[in-house]
Symmetry: C2
């Protein structure tokens, strides 16, 4: 029996938003796995901002997706065949399966077993996994825990606060005893950030003057800024830093699609405020995933970490899903069921 695989390939590099003609859903036989490989059926594809960056022809921490290749993305799926000692049939894994019904994995750092049928641990909420655990939660954890290091009573600001990473990062800081202020792009998002994610307040940067709002919402200035967006938002928060502040550079979503912004002239405040701005990449710390997972699990179990997800159904919705991150309409974790 030859199974048919449906997957999304890149046809041309998008400029700005992804156009329907930039990608195509094609069919091909499900790959025959070799020694050391396992076959995974994709349950959900994680729609991360990084996916969009891989479509550009510029080097990053992973190479660009080539024309004709399947569009890369993190996934959660189930092992249905294995020629690899690391994986059993029935394992639930996170991997880089891409926009594809099936994918092949090997025993490397990109694939993690998160549940095992033979151990009775395969009954996992896949949406929760992508929204709270996996690379999203680990990114929020490593950035906030290692660089931000919020202390009780400190003021923490998180941009893209309604997004997958931002919402988790803010809740981690809140659980650490900080006062947490979100920045988001609509009143609806701000409502969710406060009412569901438990932030102390949230600034709608589209309807408010950000400099004025930061003074109002952060009377004691900003001790930690978790930056998902870069651009003018980063510059505004740099202008409001407290002494010895930490700026966590997690992403630059403002430039992924619309191109480069001017640099943050308020970087000089790092000097005046003896502050630090630091970038990181979750993959560097993947050997500590267990630490992140345990910390996040404690927060979920104690009710201190909530999430939202939005699932697009079918590979045909790939373009809508990818663009949703940049249109300012998504709340929580965006994912796609192929």
């Amino acid at each position: 029996m030859t199974l048919t695989n449906r997957h999304l390939v890149l046809r041309s590099r998008p400029t700005g938003m992804v156009a329907p003609s930039d990608v195509e859903v094609i069919e091909s036989p499900v790959p025959v796995i070799g020694e050391g490989e396992a076959l995974v059926r994709t349950n959900l594809v994680a729609i991360d901002a990084a996916v969009r960056t891989w479509l550009n022809d510029q080097p990053g921490y992973l190479p660009p997706v080539e024309i004709g290749e399947t569009v890369r993305a993190g996934t959660v799926g189930e092992v249905i065949e294995s020629h690899c000692d690391a994986y059993e049939v029935g394992d639930v894994v996170t991997t880089f399966g891409g926009f594809s019904e099936y994918s092949v994995c090997r025993d490397d750092i990109f694939t993690t077993v998160v549940g095992r049928r033979s151990l009775g641990t395969a009954d996992i909420d896949r949406a929760e996994l992508l929204a709270v655990f996996g690379s999203t939660g680990a990114t929020a954890y490593f950035g906030m825990h290692d660089i931000g290091r919020p202390q009780p009573g400190e003021t923490v600001v998180v941009s893209a606060a309604a997004g997958a990473t931002g919402s988790v990062a803010g809740q981690i800081a809140k659980a650490a005893g900080a006062r947490v202020v979100g920045i988001a792009g609509s009143d609806e998002k701000c409502s969710v950030v406060v009412a569901e994610f438990g932030f102390d307040s949230c600034i709608n940067y589209r309807s408010e003057d950000l400099n004025v709002a930061l003074r109002q919402h952060c009377p004691d200035r900003v001790d930690v800024y978790f930056d998902n967006v870069g651009g003018p938002t980063l510059n505004a928060v740099l202008g409001r830093l407290a002494m010895n502040a930490r700026v966590v550079l997690c992403g630059v979503i403002s430039s992924y699609v619309t191109g480069d912004h001017p640099g943050p002239s308020n970087y000089v405040q790092l000097l005046a405020r003896r502050a630090r701005m630091e970038g990181f990449n979750t993959l560097d710390h993947w050997d500590r995933y267990g630490e992140a997972e345990a910390a996040l699990r404690r927060l979920v179990d104690s009710g201190q970490l909530r999430y939202r997800s939005q699932v697009f159904e079918g590979l045909e919705r790939s373009v809508d899903a990818l663009n949703a991150l940049f249109e300012g309409t998504n709340i929580g974790k965006t994912m796609l069921r192929p």
Copy 2:
């Protein structure tokens, strides 16, 4: 007997370079000291870039010098009268005596006894003290030691490499086993940086394309950047960072006089390179001055730390001395004998 004090007062706030009409040398009686105070005769005034920033009407880590006040500056001098238990007549002290023949100090963190006649330790080279020790050396030490942390074999870049702080910072990194590349503004400066200060090489940013030169001089990219200038130089080095690089923000001399530059758009490389950019202020670490002094003393005694100084004679040369830092003509430590 009433001694006459000559000192430099601020008459108007300079825009750009200091004009002769912005300041005035005036005479007034030497202050009568009260309980808890000591009178210091100034030997040398340190001409630091920070002095120029204090003439602007904007808050910094110290308040602006007010119109009519003596221009603030770090000094080395000798205690000639004391009503304070902390100081004996004959003590050599570093203090903020300003552009003034005499000043009054108290027992606070701004005044440090560096030699004592009664202990036979007052025979100190005042120029060496200002050039290598005091706040200049401590700034280089704290920035390089605490934030830069150069490792053997790493590549360290220092801007304003012929200047007081840069020349010491580079020699500290060199002694730590790093490859050290300077950036300076003339061929003469570059020669001194290599031949006298022992840097491995030096880029003349006025005659070379900095981006091209950084690729040539730093084939393994830049692990530590000690930034004294900001502006386009900072942006260029940010574009050449190695993984896990450290950027030490020590000063922004490019903006002290000429106003703000655009922010460094290459800050996004902090994210791609998991790098850190951090500001600091020497005064925060003044309780560790002894540590810095001891480390610098070892380097001087072992011949690993050399300095140059330029002394302006007389308060009438104050304007020339202040502007020398920004005209790109100074090499080593600039100072003035009032």
